[in-house]
């Protein structure tokens, strides 16, 4: 009897291992197809109108992935990442203007933008991360407005006129193609970083903080250190992306560099796709940013896209609160396990001793009420 059980368990384990291998192969092939499609995109769709959509979408893929690796993983929703985005843009613009950097050499200023983002993130994080959740959100909004006001009022930021980018020696026909691949590299790099962090111990600690920060501290997690590291990394990448955005747009002004809708868009993208996942925010950015841009271009009434964004946010919160990717994953899992005995998410491959006798007890929620 025992031998039969062991054989059955081994067979289940083999089946599960084969299934995991199959999934990995499918995921690998899908990634290769996506990568090829992304690289070939401007060759197939050469119209600058189309590549303009793609460039903005990729800028937001990078920005939301950077935002997500802090806010999505830790649960601290930042509405102040425009501080980094705008600061990155202004850094490149001011440095190029004051140091007379021209041509493609301006791209050498991007690391400086990232460094400025990191330098701002440290004191910003040290202040904002001393408080939890809702208060944190309020502080990030306050810091955002401080930066916007500074951009309006300091002379070195050009006041309300802003800063213009130097001329790039690229022909109009290749201008978008160059930026497409630059933003694609930014997006891919940020996704890879987010993926590696999520798999690492650092990412695990961030997710533990999201679930129960005090408990995580009681298990040795240096919460402040972990949160601040993620915040600084996130701000650094966002500032770099802001620098790229500035060079593409060729100018930055206070309301565009420090735009309150920037953070709201990031939040919406992450919530739509799936907060804290890797693919979710990417999908959200690929859906929302082109849509938003289309509405802005198509309808001169600039408020229409904002109104629709608000409606979309309500729809997401009401009908897919976990986001598209986790919800779709759940549906697929249900479809695949339909007709099989309900095993939940418990691994069938177990060599553990018999489960303790409470396994059939009432669920935790009920027990807690006793």
């Amino acid at each position: 009897m025992k031998a039969d059980t062991v054989k059955a368990e081994e067979a289940t384990a083999r089946t599960r291992a084969a299934s995991v291998s199959r999934q990995r192969v499918v995921a690998g092939l899908a990634l290769i197809v996506l990568a090829v499609a992304a690289i070939e995109f401007p060759l197939v769709f050469s119209s600058p109108v189309v590549t303009n959509y793609a460039i903005y979408a990729l800028i937001f893929v990078a920005a939301v992935s950077a935002w997500n690796l802090f806010s999505g993983f830790s649960g601290y929703i930042s509405l102040g990442h425009a501080v980094f985005f705008g600061s990155g843009a202004y850094t490149v613009g001011i440095a190029a203007r004051d140091w007379h950097v021209n041509g493609v050499a301006v791209f050498a200023l991007l690391p400086l933008a990232a460094a400025v983002g990191a330098v701002i993130a440290v004191p910003f994080g040290l202040v904002a991360l001393r408080v939890r959740r809702h208060t944190f959100i309020v502080i990030t909004i306050a810091v955002f407005f401080i930066f916007q006001l500074m951009a309006y009022n300091f002379s070195f930021t050009g006041g309300s006129v802003g800063v213009s980018a130097p001329f790039l020696p690229w022909s109009p026909t290749s201008f978008n193609d160059h930026f497409y691949y630059i933003t694609l590299a930014c997006a891919a790099g940020t996704i890879v970083i987010a993926f590696l962090i999520r798999r690492a111990r650092f990412g695990l600690q961030l997710r533990a903080i999201r679930d129960d920060e005090d408990r995580a501290r009681g298990l040795g997690v240096h919460a402040m250190r972990v949160k601040l590291s993620a915040f600084v990394l996130s701000g650094t990448i966002t500032a770099l992306v802001g620098g790229v955005w500035f060079l593409y747009l060729t100018q930055v002004q206070p309301p565009s560099g420090f735009d309150p809708l920037f953070d709201l868009s990031l939040v919406l993208m992450a919530f739509l796709g799936g907060l804290g996942t890797i693919a979710g925010p990417v999908l959200g950015a690929l859906i929302i940013e082109p849509g938003q841009l289309y509405l802005t271009i198509k309808y001169t009434n600039g408020y229409l896209s904002e109104i629709l964004l608000g409606v979309l946010f309500l729809v997401i919160v009401l009908f897919v609160p976990r986001g598209l990717v986790p919800t779709a994953g759940e549906w697929i899992r249900r479809l695949r396990t339909r007709g099989r005995p309900a095993s939940g998410t418990v691994s069938p491959a177990t060599s553990a001793p018999p489960a303790p006798p409470e396994a059939s007890e009432a669920p935790a929620r009920e027990a807690r009420t006793t």
């Binding site: 690492a200 111990r201 695990l204 600690q205 997710r207 533990a208 999201r210 679930d211 129960d212 005090d214 408990r215 995580a216 501290r217 009681g218 298990l219 040795g220 997690v221 240096h222 919460a223 939940g344 998410t345 418990v346 691994s347 177990t350 060599s351 553990a352 001793p353 018999p354 489960a355 303790p356 006798p357 409470e358 396994a359 059939s360 007890e361 009432a362 669920p363 935790a364 009920e366 027990a367 807690r368 006793t370």
Partner: protein, 247 residues
Amino acid sequence: MTALLRTEGVRKAYGGVHALDSCTVEIDEGSVAGLIGPNGSGKTTLFNVITGYAKADAGQVYLADKRITNIAPEKVFAHGIGRTFQLTRIFASLTVLENMLVASKHGGAAARSRAMEQLEFVGIAGHHAALAGTLSYGQRKLLELAYVLVSDPAVILLDEPAGGVNLSLVNHITDRIRELNAAGKTFLIVEHNMEFVMGLCDRVTVLDSGAVVAAGPPAIIRTDRRVLNAYLGDDLADDDPHPGEQA
């Protein structure tokens, strides 16, 4: 035996309520110590002060003569004190194995291997890939115990380990504690289940209104008049010699 964990004159007040009042407790190395008292007597507050979740207004906490008063929870953990909570606190969106790895001091294959060992020890290794939020209450209790063990703490504080679980699981937990204690682990246990406390603990400390009213072996505590008074009040204590069974 020498005291491994010691609190000296710890005071803690929340507004006008004195949760702890000159509380002095000693836990011998290698012992299983019990901490009992009526609801609101300050047991969990003492746990919180020891583990850094609450700051003491006065008094000191020592671990092996090292002062650890009012240091942060992560530092208390690093010094070798692990604790569980009265209402289990797990990371619901992480898998059971990931919960274990949060508490590991290092990552990598060795940490995973040790985590699996601890899960097997408490009997929930089969659920390692499940989301912790899907576990039953009893399994969550075991998970909490397992992830406290994964970093090999010197002292383990258990807050009502037998609370809200059935008798079979109580026995399962009791066996695990005995095995760990035999291997040298020191325990401080808050519990209302008197049979559990009296059967398991070498020494029991009784708190009432934030102060220690008695301390000693279970057999003596069971009949101590001050304990009877604490649980039943002065009038009723005269009639009932077994306060724990009423708690």
